[in-house]
């Protein structure tokens, strides 16, 4: 197979785009897709400081590297979940990556914050992944606010976005369908949230990570019981196989024609937000959900005879 652009031997076949690239032309293509996303949706303005959520996976590390190469002022944020074995491994990958590339990194340790995920799992009666997601989002927001970052970037790729959009479409979740997209504007004390990799598939970010020698954390979290949306991702892989280009056209079509229609009908509920009385994160409930979780975990841990 030959590169469509320069005729060198191809390494990356992309049937969705009816093309194949050598590694150099792929790098140009990848950068082009990120720049297009940023330009088209006004993701980052000149001079803005960007906080990048780093889990240690291929998507977040690829995003960080690419944004830094494009000259953006990026700082990584890793939340150390305090899970034995998997958290130290993930953190080491993130740390090693940032050291290697001379990138700024902040780490929030949930053990120090009194909320390690194993305790959340033990003491809180709700699915651990939903609490964990909430805690991670809380800290990304909080650090962005406290340290004056304008933008919070995550490594969601096209496959993630399509699977999520598809799930929400199956439920006709109008609230979600009215504002889902690669850019959620800053409001009431939240930084702008952006997804600069939304045009690139999981395969493409995996190729980018490999070609750039990024060491990936892929030891699974012991609590991940069957990943979210895996079934939908498989369906979409079938669809994409039969009809290359389906994913990006479904997603772009939604942004152009679906979302505006939902935004019209979905009236803003207008929950007034005020700073959390404990941590100052915006909330509609006096004390924010994560501070309430932290109190519940602390109380139950104190009352646990196994921990005396």
């Amino acid at each position: 197979m030959k590169c469509r652009k320069c005729k060198a031997p191809a390494e990356i076949p992309l049937p969705s785009h009816n093309t194949a690239f050598c590694r150099d032309c792929f790098a140009t293509y990848f950068t082009g897709q990120v720049e297009k996303a940023i330009r088209r949706h006004g993701l980052i303005m000149p001079g803005e400081r960007v906080l990048v959520a780093l889990s240690g996976g291929k998507d977040s590390l690829s995003l960080m590297l690419e944004l830094s190469r494009l000259g953006y002022d990026v700082t990584g944020l890793h939340v150390d979940l305090g899970i034995p074995v998997s958290s130290p491994a993930a953190r080491a990958k993130v740390q090693g990556f940032c050291d290697l590339h001379g990138l700024k990194l902040r780490v929030v340790e949930l053990i120090k914050e009194g909320l390690p995920i194993p305790d959340v799992k033990k003491y809180i009666n709700r699915p651990v992944c939903s609490a964990c997601g909430k805690i991670k989002r809380h800290w990304f927001n909080r650090v962005a606010l406290e340290d004056g970052f304008n933008v919070l970037a995550t490594g969601h790729n096209l496959d993630d976005e399509v699977a999520r959009l598809f799930a929400n479409t199956l439920r006709w979740d109008a609230g979600y369908l009215s504002d889902q997209g690669p850019c959620l504007q800053a409001e009431s004390g939240f930084a702008r949230k952006i997804k600069p990799l939304y045009r690139l598939t999981e395969f493409e970010t995996a190729c980018y990570a490999f070609l750039n020698g990024i060491e990936i954390h892929n030891a699974p979290c012991p609590y991940s019981g069957g990943a979210s949306f895996t079934g939908h991702k498989r369906l979409w892989a079938d669809l994409e196989h039969q009809s290359p280009g389906s994913k990006i056209s479904f997603y772009d079509g939604f942004l152009k024609r679906g979302r505006p229609a939902f935004a019209l009908v979905e009236k803003d509920e207008g929950h007034a937000l005020a700073p959390c009385e404990t941590c100052a994160s915006p909330t509609s409930t006096g004390m924010c959900g994560v501070c309430r979780l932290a109190i519940a975990v602390t109380e139950r841990r104190a009352a646990d005879p196994d921990r005396q």
Binding site: M1, A10, E11, I12, P13, L14, P15, S16, A20, R23, S55, G57, K58, D59, D159, D160, T201, E202, F203, A206, C207, F210, L211, N218, P220, C221, S224, A227, T230, K233, A237, E240, H241
Partner: protein, 65 residues
Amino acid sequence: MITVFVEPENETFTFERHNTVLMLQKRLGLRVNDALVIRGDRLLTSDDRLVDGDEIRIRKVTSTG
């Protein structure tokens, strides 16, 4: 004979008969963009030929988190 290491399961297979990457992908039930096919520091495409003694790394791309 070729040796194939599959991630993230970290399983190793050996195949006596081998021909092209496409055959290997078919054997493992993988389509073109399901996994990286790695030999040394290069990515292979479906039409690349496999040769005796090759050590191939298959890296499935679907993130599970």
